[in-house]
Symmetry: C2
Subunit: 215 residues, 2 copies
């Protein structure tokens, strides 16, 4: 075999491997995306792996090629959701075009619009899985707890910036405001899902930005 032909074959093989690796990654990402959407609406227990595999025409045996168990699948779904959500959160909370208080409000207004657009269904994956699974799976609880803490720290950094700029009250620490903000927002989303209107979110936004956080 000439060196040219050998190199040609090698390139083909390497490209083929690359394509297979890419295809595998695509299948895994598709499984995470579909599972994320279903768990957000139906919760962990009501999410059927078979239904997800059928919708993607992935054979059942392959599932365990990608994930060890349903619990491990949910852990990766939480991480996948967190990656996407944290990127949006960072973009919103570090937007130099707005003041820190405006950024927090933009985050809430966007969340409200999204919930309204989906008829107050689904809500937040992290909140939903927390209520359902915190007492059922220590593995999921720890993963959810980590995400909650991370987001709270992102809110706190923005609030701290607002306090330094004299725009947000200094009566409480940035961490305390961030904790109350996260609790109230999570609770308001839950209530909106239940009453199927955005009144709890409207009241939260009005009071939080025109009173509680204001310097």
């Amino acid at each position: 075999m000439s060196i040219d032909r050998f190199m040609g074959r090698l390139t083909e093989q390497v490209n083929g491997m690359g394509t297979r690796v890419a295809a595998k990654q695509e299948t895994k990402t598709a499984l995470l995306e579909v599972g994320m959407d279903m768990m957000m609406e139906k919760g962990y227990t009501n999410t059927g792996i078979q239904e997800i595999l059928s919708s993607l025409s992935v054979p059942k045996g392959s599932f365990y090629h990608y994930f060890d168990s349903k619990e491990n699948y949910a852990v990766e779904i939480i991480q996948h959701f967190d990656q996407q959500y944290s990127a949006t959160l960072m973009r919103t909370l570090r937007n130099p075009q707005q003041t820190p208080l405006q950024r927090l409000r933009t985050y809430c207004e966007a969340g409200k619009e999204k919930l309204a657009a989906q008829d107050c269904r689904k809500g937040c994956l992290i909140g939903n899985l927390s209520q359902e699974m915190a007492d059922q799976s220590e593995v999921l609880r720890q993963e959810l707890s980590k995400v909650m803490r991370k987001w709270r720290d992102m809110f706190a950094a923005c609030i701290d910036e607002g306090q330094k700029a004299g725009e947000i009250s200094k009566k409480w620490s940035a961490d305390q405001y961030a904790e109350l903000f996260a609790s109230s927002w999570g609770g308001a989303v839950m209530r909106s899902k239940t009453v199927k209107n955005t009144e709890p979110l409207d009241i939260f936004i009005d009071m939080m930005f025109n009173d509680v956080l204001k310097a």
Copy 2:
């Protein structure tokens, strides 16, 4: 048969009927109590009817004598929980020994102590079922929504009393404060369940009673 013997038999029969009716009521109440406890910890989907029946030695066939379906069982569990919870809530929120703000605080401190005593497990049946079932069952959603509204009105009545006494701020209406109070409390319970400590509740209590609600 002498009239005495006849009356004696009749009395026996009537007492027997009464005993049977009482026994039936006891079985139903026991089913509601055990189901309430299990749904509070495991949620709706993870609650197994067979497990409940076995724990009470009630035959499977009898379940449908008391309830039409699992959904209808959950509706009655919600109503049973609401009856007990509303009675405690009313006692706490109308306690003439305390001012309205003190009563609200007593409610929160008692809730925090209860959660801590059960290692931050379970939380609130209404909040848990809302997250899990609001998108899954319109029947349950309506029942949960009704209870949420009722409790909010009870908080609002207490806040209104505090506003009239000059103890609670009048910046917002009693209904608005009650909605924010209920959202924040519900969210803080959810977060405490997930992080498995009472920090979210401590921060809520501190900020709500020393700042947000204060006149």
